[in-house]
């Protein structure tokens, strides 16, 4: 819902708000905070028009818009292979998948808009390089096997991240994630099957698959975010029932799932330190290059410039179309109004 545009029921004293005294504001905030705390304690949901702490709103807006940007920028590495997909069936699947990502971006922008930020502003921030998105999409999709690795590992990591977000305390975010997760269930499987076909194909195809897995492994693990001891916002997000599990918890669980699945693929993960710790009952993995992560996140990855330029180009080239449709709507509305006055 676009909360910022919703009107109040007649009789609600919203128009009197201008004349509120400081005490009134303070009282309202205190009541709001109490209600918010109760919602958190009951693990219920906050909806757009509820009072919420400014930091909660800001955190959500940042997280949801980044998530939306990741979907939109994430279309590009795969769109890069639509024209060259090696069979018509794969072409259809890939097209549907990239199209889904546009849809997921839209669901998420909608959720973010309920917090009061218009979509064009978020888009502008993205194009201006002010907004972040998942750094993994700044790596190039070099071979067809990358379509497999992205589906299996990148979407796999995304799903592991997103399933708990279906229970995020902010209603619109949770609802968007339910839809996204349902639709993404095919994304990971199609990627896995691409790799499966390749690994059971010619030696060259198998090598292509292994190479892609090797390249996407570390960036996929880093999608869960920095290690817990270096993730200052995580604790607050968990207290607010936005995050349900820590970065490392989700990452370790994901490594365990991949270790099982990679056997079916008859491929290997490029990490000799993966092991199941019998004491902690948790999966462990080797060290990750967090310096590289921060470099790419800061804009110095292999494809950062290319990805943003492509988005800017599409937006810029489409401006006259968006203007035309808006102008047409205005003209039609005017005609309609004139007809009604005449009648």
């Amino acid at each position: 819902m676009a909360a910022q545009t919703l009107q109040s029921v007649p009789g609600e004293p919203t128009s009197a708000r201008h004349e509120q005294s400081l005490e009134d504001v303070a009282r309202r905030d205190a009541e709001g905070q109490a209600y918010f705390d109760k919602v958190m304690a009951e693990d219920s949901r906050i909806e757009p028009r509820d009072w919420m702490p400014p930091a909660y709103r800001k955190t959500l807006l940042r997280q949801i818009s980044q998530h939306a940007h990741s979907e939109i920028i994430g279309m590009q590495p795969e769109a890069n292979w639509i024209s060259r997909a090696p069979s018509l069936k794969r072409k259809a699947i890939l097209m549907a998948k990239v199209q889904d990502e546009a849809g997921h971006g839209l669901y998420l922008y909608s959720a973010a808009e309920t917090l009061g930020q218009p979509r064009d502003q978020m888009m502008q921030d993205l194009m201006d390089g002010k907004a972040k998105y998942s750094s993994i999409f700044n790596y190039p999709a070099r071979t067809w096997a990358d379509m497999g690795a992205i589906g299996w590992m990148v979407d796999g990591a995304a799903i592991a991240n997103q399933v708990p977000l279906c229970r995020a305390s902010f209603g619109p975010y949770g609802r968007a994630m339910v839809r996204v997760c349902k639709e993404e269930s095919f994304h990971q499987r199609q990627g896995f099957e691409i790799l499966l076909e390749l690994s059971h194909g010619t030696p060259e195809q198998k090598q292509m698959a292994q190479d892609a897995v090797n390249r996407w492994y570390a960036p996929a693990l880093m999608m869960f975010g920095p290690p817990d001891d270096d993730s200052p916002n995580s604790k607050q997000s968990m207290a607010w029932n936005i995050k349900r599990f820590s970065n490392d918890e989700l990452r370790n669980r994901f490594v365990g799932m991949m270790m099982e699945q990679v056997k079916v693929l008859d491929l290997t993960l490029p990490d000799k330190d993966i092991r199941f710790n019998e004491e902690t009952k948790k999966w462990e993995h080797g060290p990750l290059d967090w310096d590289e992560f921060h470099e790419v996140l800061a804009g110095r990855g292999p494809c950062n410039a290319q990805r943003l330029e492509r988005r800017r180009e599409a937006h810029h080239n489409g401006a006259w179309v968006r203007e035309a449709a808006a102008a047409y709507a205005a003209k039609q509305a005017k005609k309609q109004a004139e007809k009604e006055t005449a009648a």
Binding site: M1, T5, L6, Q7, S8, V9, E12, A325, A326, A329
Partner: protein, 101 residues
């Protein structure tokens, strides 16, 4: 369907989308989208919210045409029905076990 005042320049207004998943059921809120006018909002909704057979009918409503209780579902607005359990069949225990009642 009236079309909301288009925003300046090239920004399209927001529409709320309601989808009927099959005949006999109500339209349910599915999400929102941007479109220049009602005709395009319906088409965008078809592409965005029913790619997987989610619906047999779609409504689109300009987001700023929706009036809402404020804030959602709390406070005095919804207090009255609380505690009026005599509105519910379960309140009438003495007639329990009587057939066809």
């Amino acid at each position: 369907m009236t079309t909301p005042e288009p925003h300046a320049g090239n920004v399209w207004p927001i529409w709320e989308v309601f989808v009927r998943s099959s005949r006999g059921l109500s339209h349910v809120h599915a999400g929102s989208l941007h479109a220049p006018d009602a005709a395009m909002a319906l088409r965008n909704a078809r592409d965005l919210y029913t790619r997987r057979n989610e619906g047999v009918s779609i409504w689109v409503v300009p987001a700023d045409a929706i009036a809402s209780s404020d804030p959602d579902s709390k406070g005095a607005f919804f207090e009255s029905p609380q505690g009026k359990d005599y509105r519910h069949a379960t309140y009438y225990t003495k007639s329990e076990g009587v057939k066809h009642l």
